[in-house]
Amino acid sequence: MSDRRRDTRPEALLPSKRPVRFLTDTGAPARGKPAYPEPAPELLRRAYRHMVVGRRFDSQATALTKQGRLAVYPSSKGQEACQVGGVLALDEGDWLFPTYRDTVALVTRGVDPVEALSLLRGDAHCGYDPYQYQVAPQCTPLATQTLHAAGLAYAERRKGTGRVALVCVGDGATSEGDFHEALNFAAVFKAPVVFFVQNNRYAISVPLERQTAAPSLAYKGIGYGVRSEQVDGNDAVAVLAVLAEAVRHARSGAGPFLVEAHTYRMEPHTNADDASRYREEKETERWRQRDPIARLEAYLKRRGLLTDEEVASVAAEAEEFADRVRTAMNADPRVEPLELFDHVYGTRTPQLEEQRELLEAELKAEEALT
């Protein structure tokens, strides 16, 4: 694909007419030769392991909402190829800009699961150190972080570090102005950033048809001069292959790259949502037949890259991980109310000092009563 970078025709910016896929819905090799090299077997095996662990983490997190251990959890079940693919496409020094639905991506990246769940547990807005993992705070406002990713990527380019940023957004966020401003800024400044749209077909309840009249979301790139591609988001092989090219493109100095992954949110928006109010079960069932983990597992087995024993051992690893998360999350988090005043500014203002004293006195009075 490296020659395509030098293709200056506007058409070269357009995505493939149909989503790139390596696998059929059942995990057999798809017909036709994809225009991207297939990822190395070791990367596919790693992806499989992270996807299985990620899904188990995701169901554990949903269970924690039922036990009152999490305030809310937006599941990414069904999107594991994207959650894992987006992270494995990056080098250690690269940056990930996740949304609130990308917690599986965070743990894939190596963020401590308790730190990753702080936002959703409600003990801190961001429980991890972004600079430790090169992971920006999970972003709740839609698409605002695309500009941060573009700016940070441009900063890396200016510093000559060779690092790239990958920013996650959903289909709904592509309607926000910041998404468009970010594509435009990134293209004008040749910022090495990959815009990774996980099109899971619903923005809470609103279907894709109400977000856009474009042939697909990947067509939003050409208006900004951004090379774009669409991929079967439930085909981990294809996601990894396309993202590898997107990251290579960005890192080479050729500017940003937009990838739309067609996927599906198997669960409701969050545990507090009722998906039966806006979509049919038979639609969900159709997507269940295209499950990203089952497809990759079938493919790897077919190619002799995965044994039944390894499947069992990965499943056991996932259970152990879920156990650790459950145990860790069963401990009550320690919150320090006086910390409220610590990180508003570098130095507390006189007003914040006064308010801190007020709260401190309240806490002491409470303590005296108990």
Binding site: A124, A149, G151, L152, R158, V344
Partner: protein
């Protein structure tokens, strides 16, 4: 000493900051070749190159959000919003990210960045070119909000804003851009959070900031002819707010008038009045009064002089300060007023 304008002082502050620290960048709309519509960035691209001072696409949210990312990446961006009302598209970035990044990451990610906003009226600007938007920013914890009233402060406060570890909304009073003073640069004044007494006086305290400071000073001179000895305080930084200087003055004078261009309702002037009465109630000899713009959308240029606080309106309000222990009859219980 050379005589320079406030615009030139701001330009010099940017130039010196960029000279001293190569992480400092300037970007926005028309700030490159043109030097900004008010010429505040004049010559910076020529001196430091396209990498240090550059034009961006025309999108304010984009400019601020891009600056957030660059600050995360180790730069110290200074961005220009072309006019007060044109900064509104950036409000989500400012309120949800610029103001909160340090807080939401518990001090791990800080954003040393400056958002420069030419603001306020009095220059005959057409619609959307004259808003006083300080209350929106001052009401957002995590932002520092600064506005110079003098040429020296324009330089000093902008240098400090660029060096500050926190994001600063730097409000430049448009109508003072062409005000002049003899200054030796570089000049450094009081730090953030310190108000300054611009005119000492004993009869009443007039609190003002930005474009209202020269108006308050002019009113004080006129009031002196009527026997009033007014103290005029220039806040300089709205956030952090200098309660100590304001309260000390009002406790001494017993009377307080707040002057601000913005609509009075729920504005910074209202906050100042509330803080003064909380801290100075037992020293007050009269109600704390405000002279502000009307609660109307900013008027067309041909009537803006009817809207902006002026000397006459400040002098008129002095009559309500109960100098002769005469209460304001409009607010007596029997008058049945609201």
């Amino acid at each position: 000493m050379t005589t320079i304008t406030m615009a030139q002082a701001l330009n010099a502050a940017l130039r010196d900051a960029m000279e001293d620290d190569e992480r400092v960048l300037m970007f926005g709309e028309d700030v490159g070749q043109l030097g900004g519509v008010f010429r505040i960035t004049d010559g910076l691209t020529a001196k430091f190159g396209e990498d240090r001072c550059f034009d961006t696409p025309l999108a304010e949210s984009g400019i601020v959000g891009f600056a957030v990312g660059m600050a995360m990446g180790g730069f110290r961006p200074v961005v220009e919003m072309q006019f007060d009302a044109f900064a509104y598209p950036a409000f989500e970035q400012i309120a949800s990210h610029v103001a909160k990044m340090r807080n939401r990451t518990r001090g791990r990610v800080t954003l040393p960045m400056v958002i420069r906003v030419p603001y306020g009226g009095g220059i005959g600007g057409v619609e959307h070119h004259s808003d006083s938007s300080e209350a929106y920013y001052a009401h957002t914890p995590g932002l520092k909000v600064v506005t110079p009233a003098t040429v020296e402060d324009a330089y000093s406060l902008l240098r400090e804003a660029i060096e500050d570890p926190d994001p600063v909304v730097f409000l430049e009073p448009k109508k003072l851009y062409w005000s002049k003073a003899s200054v030796d640069l570089p000049v450094r004044g009081e730090p953030f959070g310190r108000a300054v007494v611009r005119r000492p006086g004993g009869d009443a305290t007039v609190v003002a900031y930005g474009p209202s400071v020269p108006v308050a000073l002019e009113a004080a001179e006129a009031a002196a002819e009527e026997g009033w000895d007014l103290e005029v305080i220039d806040l300089r930084t709205i956030v952090p707010f200098d309660d100590a200087t304001v309260a000390a003055s009002v406790r001494r004078t017993g009377r307080c008038v707040v002057v601000a261009e913005a609509a009075g309702f729920a504005g910074v002037g209202a906050e100042i009045a509330a803080r003064v009465q909380e801290r100075c109630f037992h020293s007050l000899l009269a109600p704390v009064l405000r002279v502000t713009g009307f609660d109307v959308p900013y008027p067309p240029p041909m009537v803006e002089h009817r809207h902006l606080p002026d000397v006459e309106r400040i002098l008129d309000v002095l009559e309500r300060l109960q100098r002769d222990d005469e209460p304001d009859v409009r607010y007596l219980p029997e008058a049945g007023a609201a």
